[in-house]
């Protein structure tokens, strides 16, 4: 997919995220809109994973640590053909397999996540297993900025560097807002790059909505031999919908009919 095609895809994905959240009257709207460009580039340019090679041992692995933004992942997996997109009309409905966090009930999902601070440790185990097998499998996760306060993440940061997991890439969807307030007010993360470098990771800052920058970053992995790679992807919560951008209530706010129409008119 070309950069231009990726950009168009991002618009399409944003529209679908909102459509299914609007239909379900539930979902993590702001974060799904901030993570979506990262998932777009991963699934359309980087990951060797498809319905055809699922679940072969040679597939690349993506585990979403910020599980609550599952709507973005559902939309991308449907687009890749893992399941019929219409299935998402049952999102969060009684007896639906499409629950509000990643679930292995759905083809294409690697792990059940949702509790925060879990994805990176699992990725560490998967990446180490790939190393043990001399496999070329690469392992990716996207973390939320709020969950960076979880101690388990820092246990995993130590582990990944200790075992030189340069087949592991963690991306921070750094929209700088969590459910209560700004990260800086809840529990400050900065200086994050220095902390991660001190933990033994190779770190890059990029614009997490710039699909070309994302593509270039992912294609240059590992950033340093023998080091795990960390991408601080600077994003905007609610990206693409003017009234949602950087507004706290859209963490899991659901648009009403009028707001939905405004959003659809903006996302073209």
């Amino acid at each position: 997919m070309t950069i231009n095609e990726l950009q168009l895809k991002s618009v399409e994905y944003r529209r679908k995220i909102l459509q299914y959240i609007y239909h379900a009257k539930a979902g993590h709207t702001g974060g799904s809109l901030s993570i979506i460009d990262i998932l777009n580039v991963l699934y359309n340019r980087i990951l060797k994973v498809s319905p055809e090679n699922w679940p072969s041992k040679t597939r690349d692995i993506y585990i979403q640590s910020k599980g609550h933004c599952v709507e973005a992942l559902y939309v991308v997996l449907a687009d890749k053909g893992f399941f019929p997109e219409d299935d998402l009309l049952s999102l969060c409905q009684y007896q639906s397999p499409y629950i509000g966090h990643p679930t292995k009930k759905i083809k294409g999902m690697e792990q059940n996540t949702g509790g925060l601070g879990h994805g990176l440790s699992i990725c560490c185990g998967s990446a180490l297993a790939a190393k043990k097998d001399d496999s070329s499998v690469k392992v990716f996760t996207v973390l939320g900025d709020g969950e960076m306060a979880e101690g388990s993440n820092w246990e995993a940061f130590m582990f990944a560097a200790h075992y030189k997991l340069d087949n592991l890439c963690a991306v921070l969807d750094y929209n700088k807002l969590q459910i209560t307030a700004a990260n800086a007010d809840v529990m400050g993360l900065e200086p994050l790059d220095k902390k991660l470098e001190a933990f033994g990771w190779a770190v890059k800052h990029i614009d997490g909505h710039d699909v070309e920058a994302l593509t270039n970053a992912f294609e240059s992995l590992p950033f340093e031999k023998d080091k795990p790679s960390f991408i601080i992807a600077h994003t905007v919560k609610g990206k693409g919908v003017s009234y949602m951008e950087n507004v706290l209530k859209w963490h899991h706010g659901v648009p009403n009919a009028e707001q939905f129409e405004i959003a659809m008119n903006e996302l073209v």
Binding site: K57, K104, E110, Q111, N112, T113, G114, G115, G117, H118, L120, S121, I122, C123, C124, G125, S126, A127, L128, A129, A130, K132, D133, G151, S152, E155, A156, M158, F159, H162
Partner: protein, 322 residues
């Protein structure tokens, strides 16, 4: 011949911990996909030899139990047969959310090995005791919970769990445990082992409490009371067919466990019996809901009646009430 068979023939009994470690090393030598994952616990897990013999198959996490279980889940998801080995007290409390989500809910078939379980650490105190682990594991879906009683059960549990495609929690202590039976060599998860039979009372133990129950049965026999003794090595799923049979054939039932009296084997048995209209004289022995007395494992056991004479006395009281 397996190590525990050699030991048994020579009349040697070891701690279940030792048998776990030697069994794991034996099976790992034949299967390079078997991994031991430790949290600075290879010494306390008796895995020093494993680490020397199979350095590529042991993964050190450091003192980080949450990461221990998460990494174990990731390894397991890639087809590795993973034994995550850590003191039971830390493994099942500090890393409980990882056990619930990353192992059980995500169905990554990690074998969680809780070493020095119960009050094995004795006078080190409550930070190092695991008297909650049966209770929390019983409430989590998709995990088999096992407390082997002797060297035979331990070796079988480790061998069979290694080949199983589901998560397991297996806990044991470091006390030397005599073989319960020379004859009975069957071990099936979810099936209690009947060590001896008697019609007056069924003494149902698990892990290191089975042996004092067996000793109590000997004392009771001298008083004319015939006791059935069961090693209920699998707490979940519980052998309800055996429980129904015991309820039918024994006048009273007593459970004994190295665990809080809340939420463990005893309450599991009680739940089954009551809900199936078995209204028998019944007693749960274990560690009461209080600050545990200071002492060695033996002293703590004796203090709370988890001893031959303590179980004998509890049985006599129970039968007199009847």
């Amino acid at each position: 011949m397996s190590q525990e068979s050699v030991n048994a023939q020579a009349g040697i009994s070891l701690a279940n911990l030792e048998i776990f470690a030697s069994t794991l090393e034996t099976i790992a030598k034949a299967d390079k996909d078997i991994y031991a994952v430790t949290s600075d616990s290879r010494g306390s897990g008796k895995l020093v030899s494993f680490g020397q013999q199979l350095p590529e198959q042991i993964i050190e996490i450091g003192i980080a139990e949450q990461n221990l279980v998460g990494v174990a889940a990731g390894l397991s998801s890639m087809g590795k047969k993973v034994f995550a080995v850590s003191p039971a007290c830390f493994l099942t409390a500090r890393a409980l959310e990882q056990i619930k989500n990353d192992v059980c809910y995500s169905n990554n078939p990690v074998k969680l090995i809780g070493i020095s379980a119960g009050v094995s650490y004795g006078a080190l105190g409550s930070t190092h005791h695991s008297l909650h682990d049966f209770a929390v594991m019983r409430a989590i879906h998709n995990i088999t919970v096992v407390a082997p009683a002797d060297n035979f059960e331990t070796a079988e549990a480790i061998r069979q769990a290694a080949q199983a495609a589901q998560p397991f929690y297996i806990r044991f202590g470091k006390k030397v445990m005599p073989l319960l039976s020379e004859e009975d060599k069957t071990f099936v998860f979810g099936k209690g082992r009947v060590i001896r039979k008697g019609r007056h009372i069924a003494l149902i133990g698990t892990g290191e409490t089975v042996y004092p129950a067996l000793e109590a049965a000997g004392l009771l026999q001298q008083a004319g009371i015939e006791a059935t003794v069961v090693s209920m090595h699998t707490i979940k799923p519980l052998d309800t067919a055996l429980l129904a049979s015991l309820a039918q054939h024994c006048e009273a039932i007593l459970t004994v466990e190295e665990h809080s009296v809340n939420g463990g084997l005893g309450e599991a048995v009680a739940s089954f019996l009551l809900q199936n209209q078995w209204h028998k004289p019944f007693k749960i022995m274990g560690i009461p809901d209080e600050y545990t007395v200071t002492g060695s494992q033996n002293e703590i056991f004796t203090h709370y009646g988890i001893s031959a004479s303590g179980i004998e006395q509890a049985t006599l009281q129970l039968l007199q009430k009847y």
